[in-house]
Subunit: 497 residues, 2 copies
Amino acid sequence: MLETAELGHAITKAEFELAEPKLREALVNTQYDLLAGRRKAVVVLLSGVAAGGRGETAKQLAEWMDPRHLRVQAFGPRTPEQLAHPLPWRYWQALPPRGHVAVFMNAWYAEALQARVAGRIDDRGLDAWLHHIREYERMLAHENVLLLKFWIHLSKQAQRKRLAELDGNKDTRWRVTDGDWNRARRYAKSHPLWEHTLRETSTGEAPWYVVEGSDWRYRDLTVGSILLESLKHANQPPRGRKVAAAQPGPATAPAVIDNVKLIRDLDLGQTLDEATYERELERQQGRLARLTWHKRFAKRSLVLVFEGIDAAGKGGAIRRVTGALDPRQYEVVPVAAPTDEERAHPYLWRFWRQVPRLGGITIFDRSWYGRVLVERVEGFCSDSDWLRAYGEINAFETDLVEAGVVVCKFWLQISKAEQLARFRAREKVAFKRFKITEDDWRNRKRWPQYERAVADMVERTSTELAPWTLVEAEDKRFARVKVLRTIADRLESALES
Amino acid sequence: MLETAELGHAITKAEFELAEPKLREALVNTQYDLLAGRRKAVVVLLSGVAAGGRGETAKQLAEWMDPRHLRVQAFGPRTPEQLAHPLPWRYWQALPPRGHVAVFMNAWYAEALQARVAGRIDDRGLDAWLHHIREYERMLAHENVLLLKFWIHLSKQAQRKRLAELDGNKDTRWRVTDGDWNRARRYAKSHPLWEHTLRETSTGEAPWYVVEGSDWRYRDLTVGSILLESLKHANQPPRGRKVAAAQPGPATAPAVIDNVKLIRDLDLGQTLDEATYERELERQQGRLARLTWHKRFAKRSLVLVFEGIDAAGKGGAIRRVTGALDPRQYEVVPVAAPTDEERAHPYLWRFWRQVPRLGGITIFDRSWYGRVLVERVEGFCSDSDWLRAYGEINAFETDLVEAGVVVCKFWLQISKAEQLARFRAREKVAFKRFKITEDDWRNRKRWPQYERAVADMVERTSTELAPWTLVEAEDKRFARVKVLRTIADRLESALES
C-alpha cells in the first residue's frame, strides 16, 4: 500500500491556485450542509510517518473550513485522568456530535504502533489490538460516524530530507524532537509494521487513504478533495430499503429455539426468612464495605448493571448495595430517555461518559442493554442495529475489564402473577416512587417478547469476563442477599488476583 | 452563632424511631416531586469541624433518599486537571441540573478556611474570598439553585472525645488523620475564624444552619428535616409578580442617558489599503503565533469574546485569528440556542464548561453577553435577570483572569447603511454561510434598542482586568488588523508581567 506514496507526487503552484479556491468554497458549503442535516459526525484521522506534515494539513483544513464547527485534537502522552480510565476513554470523550467535524491527530493507530515498536506488545498483541480497532470502527460507521483515515507518508529519503530541513531552520527547529529522529532511524524496520497495520485495518467501513506528504500542495489538495467527496456523500439522505437489505449482517433474529427455558427454569420459590435475611444482609454489606476500602481497590473500579422485569425490585436491591458504600465513592445512574446531546452520538456514548475512574463505583439502573431489550421489543431500532449490539457490548465490557473494572450484571426475574400483585399493591400506595404508568401495563402485555429478548441477551453477552447473574427475585430478601453476595464474591476474587 | 451548637443537643432513640420513618417517606416523595417539576437544583453543602460526622450525615441522606437522583461529592486536594483551570471550575463541573440533589462535602468554605489557617491568605484575603462566595451563591439562588449550607459543629471537648473514640476503634481508625488531630489542636484559634466566616456568609439567599454533631440522631434528623422543608418550598410554583416586585435589585434600567454616544462616536471612516493590510496582517499574525508558542504561555490561557452587530464581520475576524494559531491549541465555540442540558443549569454553565485549561485558547463567537444583549432586547429574561448579569459576568471574568486567563472582548460595529449593503450583497451570494435569515431583518429593526444595550454592556463590564475593545468594522481590513493587534498587545504584556 505504501510504495505508491513514495514516488514523489507533486502538483504545480499554478494547478494548486486554480483548484484551491473552488475546493475551499465547496468544503465550507458542504460543511454547512452537514451542520444543517446532522446526518453524520465526521472524524478525520491523520496518522503517518514523522515529518510527513500532519500538523500542516490539520491547519490547512481548519483554514479551509469554518473553524467554529471543526475541532482539531492531538493525542499525546496520557494525562493522570486518562490513565485512571479505560484505554479508549479519551477517544470516547473526543467524539464529535452529528453535524460536526473533528480532526484527530495520531489517535489509536499511533498508540498501537508505538506500543509495538517499543516492545510493550508483541505481534499477537498488535493483531489483537488491530482486531479491536476494526470492530470499534465498524460500530462507529453503523452509528453515523464517518471516519476518514489518512496515512501521510514519506519515503525514507524524503523523510530524512524533511527532518534536516526543519531542524536547520530556527523557526521550525522546535517541531523536530529526538523522538522524530529515533523513529526515522527505525524507518526500514517500521515499514513492514505500517504495511501490516494499514492492510489489517483498511475495511469497507473505514478504508485508509495513503497520501504522500513530500509536496504540501499535493498532500493538502488530496486530503481536502477526499474529505469533500466524503462529506457530500455523508450529506445524502439514507439509502432506501432495497439497498439497505443488501448490507452485510443477519437480517433476522438468530434461530435459537428454546433458550427462554433458561429464564423459565429459574427456581422462583427460593426464599429467606427474616432472621436469616437480617444476618446475611449485615454480613454481605460488611464484606462489600471492607472490600471497597481495600487498598487494592484504588487500582480497580466497579460497574454494576441492574436490569429486570418491571417491579422486580431493582430499586430496592440497589439501595441495599448503596447502603454498604461510602456515598462519595459511588454514583447511581438512572437510565431514562436520552437527551438531545446523547441522541447526537452513538448509543453507547452516554454510558462511556459514566464509566468510573479507578477507585470509583457506577451503578446503572437500566443500561446499554436497553438496546437489545426495550429498543428491540418496541422496534425503536432496526433488527440489524440490535443484532450487532451484542458484539459491540461485549467489546465495550472487555475494554472495561481490561482497565481493571469489575463488571457485575444482574437480571431480576419475577413471575407474571407476582408482577400483577405488585402492580396492584403499588396502585394503592401513596408513595410516589411506586407510581404505575401506562408503559408498565403495556410492557406486561409483551411479556413473551421480553422473555425472548432477555434469553438472547444472556446467551450472547454472558462472557467469562462479564457474566450475567440471574436473580430469582420473587422473594425480595433472597434477591437482595444474592445480589450483595455476588458483588462481594466477584470483588474479592478480583482483589486477590 | 456557634455557642448554641456546643450545648450537647440530643434526642432519644425512641423519639428518633418515631420520627424517622415519616421523615424518610416524606423526603423521598418530595425528591420525586422535585424531579417531576424540575424547578430547582438542590445543593446540600456539608461543612464543619473535624469528626463532626459530615460523612455519616451524607450517608444517611443517601439512604433516606433515592440514590439514583442524589450525588455525593467530596472535594479533596485538587487534581492536575483542576489545577489547570480556574479555582471555581471543579464546583462548576459538579453543579447538578434542575430536579437533582447534590451533597457537597466541604467545598469552597473548607478551601477558604484551610487557606487562611495555613497562612496562604491573610484576613483581608479571606474577606475578599468570602465576598466572592457571597456573590456566587446569590447568583446560584437567582438561577434556580437551592443551596443549603450546614455547619456540623462540636464543642472542643466533644471533638476530642469523638476523635479519641474513632481512633481507639480499629474499624474506624482509618478515618482519623493526623490532619484531624492538628486541626483539633487549633480549635480555640480557629473558633473566631469559623464565627467570622459563618456570619459573613449567612445571607438571605443562603443562610447557614449550624447543627450540633455530638448526637448522631439529633444531627441527622435536624439536617433531614431542614432539607425536607426546603425541598417542599423549592417545589412550589414561582411566586406571583406582586411578591417578585418586592425583591431587592433595581427594577428598571439604569438611568444613564447618553452613553450610546460611545458607539455613535466611533470613527467608522478608518480604513487600511490592501498593501498595508497584507503587511500588517502578516506581522500581527506572526506576533500572535510566536506569543502562543512562548514558554510562559503554558501557564496562561486565552479567552476571546466576539460580539457585534449582525454582518459586522465576526466570522472573518475569527478566521484571521485562527489562521495564526496551531489548530490543536484552540477551540472555537459558536453560541446558538442552548440544549436541554444547558437549560437545566445557570446561564453561565455552558460557558464554564468551555473555559480553556492552561496553555489553551477558546474563541467565543457570541458569548455570555447574550444575556445583556439579545435576551434583554427580546425579553427572553426578566429585567432583574439581565440587570444582575453585569455583576455576575464581571465576577466570572475576574475568576478567569485570576487563574491566568487573558480575556479579550471585541465589539464589532458597522453603520446601519453598511449593514443594509452587506445584507443585500449576501442575498445575492450562493455561499451558504452567508444566508440572511428573518432574524437578521428583525434584529435590524431593533437597532436603537441594541445600541442602548451595547452601550450599557460596555459601560458596565469594561473592567481593568477584562476591558472591551470597540472595533470600527466598516472597513474589514481595518477591523481584522485591530483585533489581531489588540490580542497580541494584551498577550505580550501579560507574558512580560
